[in-house]
Amino acid sequence: MAEEIRMPKLGATMETGTIGTWLKKEGDRVQAGEPLLEIATDKITIEVEAPASGILLKTYYGPGDVVPVQEIIGYIGEPGEVVPDSPGAVFPAGDEIPQPSDGKIRATPAARAAARRLGMDLASVRGTGPKGRIQKEDVEAAYQQLQQQVKATPLAQKIAGKENIRLADVQGSGIRGKITRDDVEAAIAAKREASESGESRVQTRKVEGMRKIIGERMSQSAFTAPHVTLVTEIDMSAAVELRKQLLPIIEKKTGFRLSYTEIIMKAAALALKLHPAVNASLKGDHIIFHDHVHIGLAVAVPDGLVVPVVQDADRKGLAELTAECKTLARMARENKLTPDLLSGGTFTISNLGMYAVDAFTPIINPPESAILGVGRIHEKPVGVDGSIVLRPMMTASLSFDHRVMDGAPAGAFLTELKQLLEQPFQMLL
């Protein structure tokens, strides 16, 4: 009996998941525990492991499809095992056909040739020959069925048939995604170009997975929340000294090296506690003032960005924050973050201080209402007590959602943050 693959419930609040990329295709052999596909939640993409070993017999959904959790999205089983044509359907009754148990598919050379020509996967074809052998006409029938499942105009179908274009691979631009002649001709042209040019001059990559999520979330935030960005310069002399003294102690205690990120996070957390207007979210007609301070930390990962959340950052010491931030960052880079580690933030810090960036206008990470952008620390001439001296200066930029708060409370928060970082012993209060 084939093993069901279900949309996993990756977080307490997860109700649907978006199919990202299938890392295996139908007909591929998979091992239990091997990455099978990527699921995109509203926060991240995550790899889902194969629940069993066998042949990936069926995948019901493609990239971008949104599927409720626990719904069957595919099957793994033995070659030739019959699985329903659609996720809701039940197993076809009776005529169990014995298939070779060695994992091979019983198909004639002509059927294999036809499958190659039509780009069909033999594992998805039902054989009607002796002993369930897949014959050429079975492949052609399955191909026809596939072609018909896809909505396409008769003309598009005809052209696709003539040019061996798999309609399932064509993106439809017509009404409700119907494939038109233009779509098929574009696909033919693309196919031809791909085969003629060998290598194309321009690299393209489909916007999908994490890239797509970031794009959607950032657009949504930037175009819905009226952003205001406040900027201040912070003298980091005392913070530099603090780090110098605490670094060996914390390293000895935790094995992790204290960085400015944790010091800034600690200061921001304390400032947020004092300025609840900034530690808020807009939900419908209501502004929610959070009684806890969960700070998200933007971490760059290959191909994108994730924001793991440090819970109750205001109540944690620098040693604990260091260990937690470093661990989350490593998990992010190794793509091991779970949705629970990515949700529940009330504020976000984005630190670009490792680059030659002085200041920037960060985009709020919804549903939060404010985000702190941190630039590099470098020595600048500043006026102190009537004379010009060099001080390690850092620019902090606070973007806030003007629907939730106004300039004054945001300014007060930023001022608080500046004072805490310039006189870090205040954090002991």
């Binding site: 004639t108 050379p109 002509a110 002796p130 052998r133």
Partner: protein, 328 residues
């Protein structure tokens, strides 16, 4: 066009050659007054005299040696071996001498010899007079092997065999001797190595030899009538040289191949044809396993019912095709 029997067509081919070419003569056991075991040479003694229609002692070893010698010295002998089973006694002369001489003398000597010999079962001659041993001859480089199935083909192929400068083994199926068909009166030649599509079809190719061509055609008729299966029947006509191209082309069209011969299936020509197809570009067109039908690995029984059961019959071919198309 006039209808004559297979046997008459062979006689006519020989007689017409002997009338025009004084080098051609026939020899064999009882071929003179008696007209041969099956009457193929009836009346030829009267027309050509005992010098050119030579009755020989009952020694295939001797007469095959004499025939090879005659061919080497410039004659074009036709040797009749009364039953193809007796070829075993002539084997050294055929395999080690006739087949090798042209090659070993660098083409300076040649053996333009035709050995005509009746083969096959179905006439109640039992185990020692009913075999189909053509695959042995196919295996030997230097020999050509002909297996006609119709009077027309028999006449044309025999002329081509006589005209050929290499030893040719010419198998005549006993059950075909009385089979009638249209045959032109004038001499004509059918090149060795050209198959004939006896019936066109698109669902399955049957390659059949000798008597099996007729059984395959009968089966094809029935399959079309009862199952709507359109069978293509190919008669290779010569096993060496074999017209591979026609077979491969047909299999590419139909995607299915059944090979039928009377000879024992094990080690038979069917395995060779199946392999040729599997090795060819037709492989990717195969939509079913290749099926061989051949004789059972038993001596041909004397009991007429068992004799029938020992080799493929029309119903065997029908059943094989139906199974192949999953219509059984």
């Amino acid at each position: 066009m006039r209808e004559i029997t297979f046997l008459e067509a062979i006689r006519e081919a020989m007689s017409q050659e002997m009338r025009t070419n004084p080098d051609v003569f026939i020899m064999g056991e009882d071929i003179g007054l008696y007209g041969g075991a099956f009457g193929v040479t009836n009346g030829m003694l009267e027309e050509f005299g005992p010098e050119r229609v030579r009755s020989t002692p009952i020694s295939e070893a001797a007469i095959s040696g004499a025939a090879v010698g005659a061919a080497l010295t410039g004659m074009r002998p036709i040797l009749e071996i009364q039953f193809s089973d007796f070829i075993t006694i002539a084997m050294d002369n055929i395999v080690n001498q006739a087949a090798k001489i042209r090659y070993m003398f660098g083409g300076k000597a040649q053996v333009p010899l035709v050995i005509r010999t009746p083969s096959g079962s179905g006439a109640g001659f039992a185990a020692q007079h009913s075999q189909s041993l053509e695959a042995w001859m196919v295996h030997v480089p230097g020999l050509k092997v002909v297996q006609p199935s119709t009077p027309y083909d028999a006449k044309g192929l025999l002329k081509a065999a006589i005209d050929d400068n290499n030893p040719v083994i010419f198998y005549e199926h006993k059950l075909l001797y009385r089979y009638k068909g249209n045959v032109p009166e004038e001499p004509y030649s059918i090149p060795l190595g050209v198959a004939d599509v006896k019936r066109e079809g698109r669902d399955v190719t049957i390659v059949a030899t000798a008597i099996m061509v007729h059984r395959a055609l009968e089966a094809a008729e029935l399959l079309e009538r009862e199952d709507g299966i359109r069978v293509e029947v190919i008669d290779p006509r010569t096993l060496v040289p074999l017209d591979e191209e026609t077979i491969i082309r047909s299999v590419k069209k139909t995607g299915r191949l059944v090979v039928v011969h009377e000879a024992v299936k094990r080690g038979g020509i069917g395995g060779e044809i199946a392999s040729i197809v599997a090795e060819s570009e037709a492989f990717d067109y195969l939509d079913a396993p290749i099926v061989r039908l051949g004789g059972r690995p038993v001596p041909i029984p004397y009991n007429p019912e068992l004799e029938k059961r020992a080799v493929p019959q029309v119903e065997d071919i029908v059943q094989a095709v139906r199974q192949l198309l999953n219509r059984a």
